[in-house]
């Protein structure tokens, strides 16, 4: 049994902000990010140039512009020049890099952001380019198709039914009624959902994410600085990222060994798991994640509604961390886990354990 990672530096989230999940944000990506950045700076009372390091996650293929990530720097206040980095990944991986950067102990604060606009293009076409360039990308193997395979595999293995998928959807939409940032919400009847036609058999449209634009940002800080900047910091106790093969036919799609390993590494069950904010982009993923994470009824799963109710790619994983941090800051739980995913059908998984101030 591997031991949970013990980060030498305690790191906390001291401010966070997100946009609503928009069906279409009719302005530029920097204009979408900027209010989040301004909000987190204002929450801490810091001067922009007191922030030691800045990192963003986004995807140029989504924006349809070479070097779009460079334009996004307009949003983070980069003049006079700042110390800055970027990942072509969801903002949750920008958080990971920021967290690791703080472990070196020479800087105190990091501004993290994640953003994406899915509305101008086709995410199915763009994200098919994440796949193997010889045997998958030329036939347009897209994330929805890979989610369809995963759903079919679950059904074939007797681990889930289409009704189970519909129940995830109904629960997510009901939870989202209390979330002002959600794009979709409401009371749905499982029977009605099952009467809908297939979009990607065995998936229906509601089993798939809406097309969304959005952004999120946070400031993280080392312990002393965190206490100075914030009355109730939310501590990042552990963070871990694990991947599986990019060949879906080599994976057991009904399980997530990478989530199991990451959960072990972050010591997920070394304490209570009150809240789990999971990147359930397609409804069957919740069933796999619950099992791989070993969650039971004691855990509130996706109280925000999750990505089925608003899924701005490249911000959606970071938004899970933000939603969890908000829940903990509000006292809705003392400890929880946020999950971000990259690649098709939960190929890559990142877990982040947060805990309230104690």
């Amino acid at each position: 049994m591997t031991q949970p990672m013990q980060p030498p530096e305690d790191v906390a989230i001291v401010a966070f902000a997100q946009t609503p999940s928009y069906a279409c944000f009719n302005d530029s990506e920097p204009a979408m990010i900027m209010p989040c950045v301004n909000s987190v700076i204002e929450q801490t009372g810091m001067d922009r140039h007191d922030i030691d390091f800045t990192i963003a996650g986004s995807c140029d293929y989504l924006s349809g512009l070479p070097f779009a990530f460079v334009m996004n720097i307009d949003a983070v206040g980069a003049w006079p020049p700042v110390y800055e980095s970027h990942v072509e990944m969801d903002g949750a991986w920008a958080l990971f890099e920021g967290f690791v950067r703080l472990q070196s102990g020479d800087i105190d604060t990091v501004l993290v952001s994640g953003s994406g606009k899915c509305s101008p293009g086709s995410y199915r076409e763009g994200f098919s380019l994440q796949t193997d360039p010889y045997v998958h990308a030329p036939i347009g193997l897209d994330p929805r198709t890979q989610a369809g395979f995963q759903a079919q595999a679950l059904i074939a293995a007797g681990k889930a039914t289409e009704r189970d998928f519909a129940e995830v959807v109904a629960r997510s939409h009901a939870n989202a009624k209390a979330n002002p940032y959600a794009q979709l919400s409401g009371d749905l009847l499982v029977g009605d959902l099952l009467a809908e036609p297939y979009l990607q058999q065995p998936l229906r449209r509601h089993d798939c994410p809406p097309t969304s634009d959005g952004a999120g940002a946070m400031i993280i800080a080392r312990a002393d600085k965190a206490r100075e900047l914030c009355d109730n910091p939310v501590w990042i106790r552990a963070i871990d990222h694990r991947i599986e093969s990019h060949h879906p036919t080599l994976r057991d799609l009904t399980d997530s060994p990478s989530v199991r390993l990451a959960a072990e590494r972050v010591g997920l069950h070394h304490g209570p798991v009150d809240v789990a904010e999971l990147t359930v982009t397609y409804s069957p993923e919740e069933i796999i994640l619950r099992e791989a994470l070993g969650l039971d009824e004691a855990t509130s799963v996706n109280p925000s509604g999750g990505p089925l109710t608003g899924s701005p790619f490249m911000a959606v994983g970071l938004t899970r961390v933000i939603e969890l941090a908000r829940a903990i800051a509000n006292g809705d739980g003392g400890r929880g886990v946020a999950h971000a995913s990259s690649g098709p059908a939960l190929q890559q998984n990142l877990l982040c354990v947060l805990e309230g101030d104690s």
Partner: protein, 331 residues
């Protein structure tokens, strides 16, 4: 005011990739009507790999023919194909374990649009396209009973390079501030945005002041002069890269319009040579007749003051502005 166009363009990157010792023969085989797997211990992998997927150990190239028949071990039905899929009508994607292989290949199954024909355990068979390029898209699958016998003429040289044109379509409205800027050009006006924090005027505006991190809107917009000062120029000698439309050398300059703090870059000059250009030279816009102006090339990312709205820029004859005064704007 007539509605302005939506932005609709296609971003393309032509990729070429070497194929290597295992994928190369695999793609050569597809072009020649055969499907090859790679031996890995006692197993055969298809798609073939250069490494053992369990241990990551390098595998010596050792290819063996598999298929053309196989069994569907997982499937999903695509009700709404994307532009990148092998078929433009509904079809199945499947994990296909080809006869003689132990791993499965992901590929498309054409049942003529009938989702009911798909099932786990069904038998399928490879069919090869008439035009083949040494690509995974050279082949597709059909239910075994629908397969036809094909005579495939093998090609000559082995496939050592693949070409993959990445092509992504973007479609969105002009952002509100871009629409107002474009409409201004149609009206013979250059519209800028003035930052309420610094007072600096940006042309075209971007909807925000990135120095002060404030959003800008219509109330921050001002009409600026259509005369200004050349702050930079160069001669472009068009390199014939993919997508290039220019063939002859021409001058491109940046002009700081009077009353603004940011030069407009990319103004093309066709009736002057590079020898006639000077930093500090005063120029003014000679607009096209209103009915000849177009902003069709303006999108949300590119397009400042395009040639499709002006006939030319002409020197005003005023004395040059000393270059020293333009240092901050030489871009």
């Amino acid at each position: 005011m007539p509605a302005l166009h939506d932005v609709d363009y296609t971003l393309e990157y032509p990729y070429t990739r070497t194929t290597g010792p295992v994928i190369g023969p695999f793609l050569t085989g597809l072009r020649d009507g055969r499907i090859l797997g790679q031996r890995c211990g006692s197993r055969v992998l298809c798609p073939p790999m250069e490494f053992d997927p369990d241990t990551a150990a390098t595998l010596e190239p050792d290819l063996v023919e598999v298929g053309p028949g196989g069994e569907v071990v997982n499937w999903t039905w695509v009700a709404e194909p994307s532009a990148k899929h092998p078929f433009d009508r509904p079809f199945g994607f499947a994990f296909i374990k080809l006869d003689g292989a132990e791993t499965a290949l992901v590929h498309a199954v054409d049942t003529g649009g009938d989702a009911g024909a798909m099932s786990t355990g069904m038998r399928v068979r490879a069919q090869f396209r008439a035009e083949r390029h040494g690509s995974i898209a050279d082949v597709y699958f059909v239910p075994e009973a629908d397969a036809v016998e094909q005579v495939i003429e093998p090609g000559e040289e082995p496939v050592t390079i693949t070409e993959h044109l990445i092509s992504l379509r973007v479609n969105e409205p002009l952002y509100p501030h871009r629409a107002r800027f474009a409409q201004g050009l149609l009206d013979g006006k250059i519209i800028g945005q003035r930052s309420p924090v610094t007072g600096k005027v940006y042309v075209p505006g971007r909807g925000y002041d990135n120095m002060s991190r404030v959003l800008l809107d219509e109330s921050d917009e001002v009409e600026v002069s259509d005369a200004g000062t050349v702050v930079a120029f160069t001669e472009l000698n068009p390199v014939q890269y993919y997508g290039q439309t220019e063939t002859e050398p021409y001058v491109r300059c940046s002009i700081l319009f009077d009353g603004t703090d940011q030069p407009v870059i990319g103004i093309d000059i066709r009736d002057m040579t590079v020898d006639e250009m000077r930093v500090g030279m005063r120029m003014r816009c000679v607009w096209r007749d209103p009915e000849d102006r177009s902003v069709a090339d303006i999108d949300n990312r590119y397009g400042n003051v395009p040639e499709t709205v002006y006939a030319r820029f002409e020197p005003t004859g005023e004395p040059d502005v000393p270059a020293e005064e333009l240092k901050e704007h030489s871009w």
